[in-house]
């Protein structure tokens, strides 16, 4: 794992280890097992929030229906937060992502609802993919442009993207003179996770099995690699313990997702189409929603980029010491342009999910989203001083924040009070993180 989170080296001699094994402290277990403590803390916080809301709401929070909805609601912010991690790690910021989401969403909507149907005919099978690719291109270009101004012209990212926040918001209004563009292409709507945008129960289980196999394979590869080079591998009890928890989490989440059935009307239609005998009370699982599938794919790809390729390592190196990165021969400016470009592409993907979910695009799309995205990254352990932050952390951060909002909605808390709570939680989360960091570094 790159810079993000230190996994302290185990240096105690075997004798001491054995002597104290009878009353091994939690701290030493965590250390020997190489568990990321910050991530562990966040999972703990998430569980606490869930349990609390479940009690306060009289048991309606921890239902399959609510958790399924929560997973879909988190997706837009989660997708963008993974990109924001890279930006913040390089000691930059992107305030423009909410407005970018609007201008890209509006472009994609206009393409599929007005421009392309004129050329190809309404409902043409290529419309959705052309719109999506065009949107991603627009995102990449906007991101690269802002990144280039930051890296090569030297205008602070705060200013460049603050300008972007105004420019792209205005542009999104201008594109359609403030009209609401609807409806979206039928196939495109699948991206939003609506009634057709789920992969069904069977595929959800297949995906879960693939996920479990991947966990085992990756852990086995890592262990083999260490043994090959003669490094001490993680103790077997830790490997088995972590593996069991991860697989348990995947299986558990899948079981919960799949216990949320289609609404009766939809289920009846589905049964007729698939030749299943329909009877009252037949439950057909919806399965994983497409936006959640997109989050999973994005998170895996982004984690891979952050931890396993040169670009990611350079992003963290720049955050750790920009001067050292330059002296090491890293093209730091180009790396920053790339980070902003990735952010633009992810914003485009999030925009596609958003307009597909709403089945419409308005110029007000994505308002304040930039702040939620930054907050998700920061709650997820990304340091605004740069150099520190992880992709899984950011996704969890997004989930923590959405859980708070959804929980309060469920309990009928007024919107202004919701904002107050989210704001306070953001500050507390960073305060705890700062305290934790100070203690670790001394």
């Amino acid at each position: 794992m790159t810079g993000g989170n230190p996994t302290p080296e185990t240096q105690e001699p075997a004798g001491i280890e054995a002597a104290s094994s009878s009353r091994r402290s939690i701290g030493s277990i965590v250390r020997v097992a190489e568990i990321d403590t910050r991530l562990l803390g966040m999972i703990g916080a998430l569980i606490a929030i869930w349990v609390l809301f479940n009690i306060l709401s009289g048991g309606t929070f921890l239902t399959a229906r609510n958790l399924w909805n929560l997973s879909v609601q988190t997706s837009v912010v989660a997708i963008m937060a993974t990109g924001m991690v890279l930006i913040i790690v390089t000691r930059n910021i992107d305030l423009s992502v909410g407005s970018m989401l609007a201008v890209i969403g509006m472009s994609m909507a206009l393409l599929q609802a007005e421009i392309l149907p004129e050329w190809l005919g309404l409902g043409h099978p290529l419309i959705w993919i052309i719109s999506l690719i065009a949107g991603i291109l627009v995102g990449a270009i906007i991101g690269a442009l802002q990144g280039a101004i930051v890296a090569y012209v030297g205008v602070p990212a705060f200013i460049v993207t603050l300008g972007g926040l105004l420019v792209w918001r205005g542009a999104s209004w201008w594109l359609a003179s403030g009209r609401t563009i609807a409806p979206m292409d039928d196939t495109f709507q699948i991206l939003g996770g609506g009634s057709k945008g789920t992969i069904g129960g069977t595929w959800t289980w297949i995906l879960a099995i693939v996920g479990c196999a991947a966990v085992v394979l990756l852990m086995w590869r890592r262990r083999r690699q260490r043994i090959k080079f003669g490094f001490e591998p993680r103790p077997m009890w830790a490997e088995i313990g972590i593996g069991t928890v991860l697989i348990g989490a995947i299986v558990g989440a899948t079981a919960v997702i799949n216990s949320y059935p289609m609404p009766a009307l939809l289920a009846k239609k589905y049964a007729e189409e698939h030749g299943i005998a329909w009877h009252e009370g037949l439950e057909i699982p919806l399965g994983l929603a497409t936006p959640v599938l997109i989050v999973i794919v994005v998170a895996i790809v982004m984690h891979f980029i952050a931890a396993r390729v040169r670009f990611g390592r350079y992003v963290y190196a720049i955050g750790g010491n920009p001067e050292a990165a330059v002296l090491a021969g890293i093209k730091t400016r180009w790396t920053i342009v790339k980070a902003f470009t990735v952010m633009g592409v992810l914003t485009a993907i999030a925009a596609a999910v958003q307009i597909a979910r709403l089945n419409a695009a308005t110029s007000g799309l994505g308002q304040l989203t930039e702040l939620y995205v930054i907050a998700a990254a920061v709650i997820g352990g990304t340091s605004l001083n740069g150099g520190v932050g992880t992709i899984p952390g950011a996704v969890l951060g997004a989930l923590v924040m959405q859980s708070l909002v959804s929980g309060m909605v469920l309990m009928g808390v007024d919107a202004p009070l919701q904002d107050i709570v989210v704001g306070i939680v953001l500050v507390i989360a960073v305060a705890i993180d700062t305290y934790y960091r100070k203690r670790v570094s001394t």
Binding site: E9, F229, R310, N321, A325, G387
Partner: protein, 262 residues
């Protein structure tokens, strides 16, 4: 033993000029370095030692002047170019990415990759462990961010980098400034070892004792100019001090100058 007169210098820097605004930080300085030799560059604060050497390491290109390596003229625009010519630099600030571990720092900018094109962290750690076993066997913190390491340990990472990538020319900018006595002795030992392997070393130092201990020749800089290059065996510490402070050529330093110093 070949005669020094006929041997081609490993590095030849000719008429190097660097100006910041109107200030001539380095003004028409020429120095050379042979393989297996330590040339110390000394001078007061602001004498232009570091600026001179940054033109060779690629950190700041010269405004004018020529650099020859193995007798061939080269152009060095950035640190990558310098590394390509076998020039490794150990900076005073040590230039480490604080949030990365030691192996990542050693390979920063030149990471090892697997056949899949991904970072091969295990191979990098393995290579680092092997180099470090030779340089500093007590170094065992392979996976913690370097910000938590001591000055000496951080120094060994910087040196490990130069050793691993088979540097032919090593620039050391105040290598012992942040170190305790034992660690300083260790760096001295290392410099002698590298020298015996035929590596040429530019040593920038404030410490006149270090310089006399390690260097073969001493280049004295004074307000951006070269006051002179002397063989260590031909001069006394006092004479070098006089050159550093007054900027006089070695031959111009008189006994009265030295007396004034005391």
């Amino acid at each position: 033993m070949t005669d020094t007169q006929v041997r081609t210098p490993l590095v030849e820097m000719k008429n190097i000029k660097v100006a910041f605004g109107g200030v001539h930080a380095v003004d028409d300085v020429s120095v050379d370095l042979f393989g297996g030799e330590v040339v110390a560059i000394v001078g007061g604060n602001g004498a232009g030692k570091t600026t001179l050497i940054r033109t060779l390491s690629g950190a700041h290109p010269a405004d004018s002047g020529e650099i020859f390596i193995d007798g061939e003229q080269v152009t060095i625009h950035n640190p990558r170019d310098a590394k390509g010519f076998g020039v490794e630099t150990i900076y005073q600030t040590l230039a480490l990415a604080e949030n990365q571990n030691a192996p990542s720092n050693m390979f920063l900018g030149r990471e090892l990759k697997t056949t899949w094109g991904t970072l091969d962290d295990a191979a990098m750690e393995d290579a680092f462990r092997k180099v470090m076993a030779r340089l500093n066997p007590k170094f065992l913190n392979f996976r913690v961010p370097v910000q938590s390491l001591s000055g000496g340990q951080r120094q060994s990472i910087a040196i490990a980098k130069a050793v691993y990538f088979n540097a032919r020319i090593i620039i050391m900018d105040e290598p012992t400034a942040a170190l305790g006595p034992a660690e300083t002795a260790q760096v001295g030992e290392l410099i002698r070892q590298l020298k015996s392997e035929g590596i040429g070393i530019f040593l920038i130092s404030h410490d006149i004792h270090d310089v006399f201990d390690l260097a073969d020749r001493i280049a004295v800089m004074h307000t951006g100019n070269l006051a002179g290059v002397v063989n260590k065996v031909d001069v006394t510490k006092d004479e070098v001090l006089a050159m550093i402070i007054m900027g006089k050529r070695a031959s111009e330093v008189t006994d009265t100058d030295i007396e004034e110093l005391h």
